[in-house]
Point group: C2
Chain length 216, copies 2
């Protein structure tokens, strides 16, 4: 499948590399053509590098791996006409580092980044996913033992099924992909980040994840 | 030990009953003397019922089980002189139902209820704990299988150790009580609630909890 990955940071490069490894064709999009990270990645991984617009146009699926505080700007550059009708997997977190560490969220509680993206691109099928784990765990969940979960949230059931399939290729069994509801549920997935950061501090590693156990 | 439980709802009654069962002396505090819930509870469980001030005065430890949006008012009624120097276990969540379901948080992201309480009562040693699980799981964690966790956050290490001991009496092994840091980490514990509510919806029960698995 042709997939556009927006963002050239660790998350974008990790997801793009795994997608290529799984046989997908990937264009990595950056703010500027000729972005060093994207060019180097494309050269090393038999991928393509381009602008946000070129990556979005290329992808039958688009993955938003940009920094959360820049995501709306990146999607505007990608262009509504290149996003309309497509599934957009929103991996981003609206982390605001402007007041130092630990970050707060640029949007929280009464709104979420995923909801803002869905509202700005109503013809795009936004699925929030993967933002609750570090990049290496996103694409290789078996690096962490146990029956830990990844979550999906979004309005479009078919889009969530498509994302579930892609997550399955990454190594997430269907039973460990939990649908938490519509796009509003992205609030909870984004608001988990402060606890994630505390757990990172307590555990001394970002390579962890949560499992959910219920009474029998 | 003498323990004051502030609040007469499900959480307050569940914690108070378990404390009596474990041999502690409990006064349940309510806004008004003669509160029906508190009086009925005291009669059934060999406890005492009183005002917030009487419960706080009675307790060597005070447990805040009031609704989050009313906690600061309840603690003001309890009185600084009855709280100073004591450990206050803050179980509350600042859930705001004023705009309907699902609730938002009355304070989030750049502050937390626990931080507000600690700021208002600097001579009190606030420990955020137990707010991430439903009442029945708080006091009987073995109702949920697996190595799921409870979290503590607060500034005072001795207070957190005391709370760890009380959690141990409830049935939480020390290895499953994770210290996530100072009182600021309460933000993450409170901001987990929207995800908790989504999980409740997805699982169809509130009797669940999260375990954290890390890469080896």
């Amino acid at each position: 499948m042709n997939i556009g990955v927006l963002g050239t940071g660790t998350v974008g490069r990790t997801i793009a590399s795994r997608l290529v490894e799984l046989g997908h064709a990937v264009t990595m999009g950056a703010r500027q053509a000729g972005n060093d990270n994207a060019t180097a990645w494309a050269s090393a991984h038999h991928g393509r590098a381009g602008t946000f617009a070129e990556a979005a146009e290329f992808g039958a699926i688009v993955v938003n791996c940009t920094a959360g505080t820049g995501s709306l700007e990146a999607l505007a550059a990608a262009g509504d006409r290149h996003l309309a009708g497509k599934v957009l997997i929103d991996v981003s977190n609206p982390l605001d580092f402007s007041a130092g560490l630990p970050p707060t969220l640029a949007v929280a509680n009464t709104d979420s980044l995923a909801e803002r993206i869905q509202a700005a691109y109503p013809a795009t099928r936004v699925v929030k996913a993967l933002n609750t784990v570090t990049a290496s765990v996103m694409v290789r969940p078996d690096t962490v033992p146990g029956d830990h979960l990844v979550f999906v949230a979004g309005e479009d059931a078919d889009a969530k099924e498509l994302v579930r399939g892609l997550l399955g290729e990454f190594g997430w069994p269907a039973a460990r992909v939990l649908d938490v509801g519509g796009v509003r549920a992205a609030r909870g997935l984004e608001m988990y980040l402060p606890l994630w950061l505390s757990l990172y501090g307590a555990l001394g590693t970002g390579e962890f994840n949560i499992a959910v156990h219920a009474a029998q």
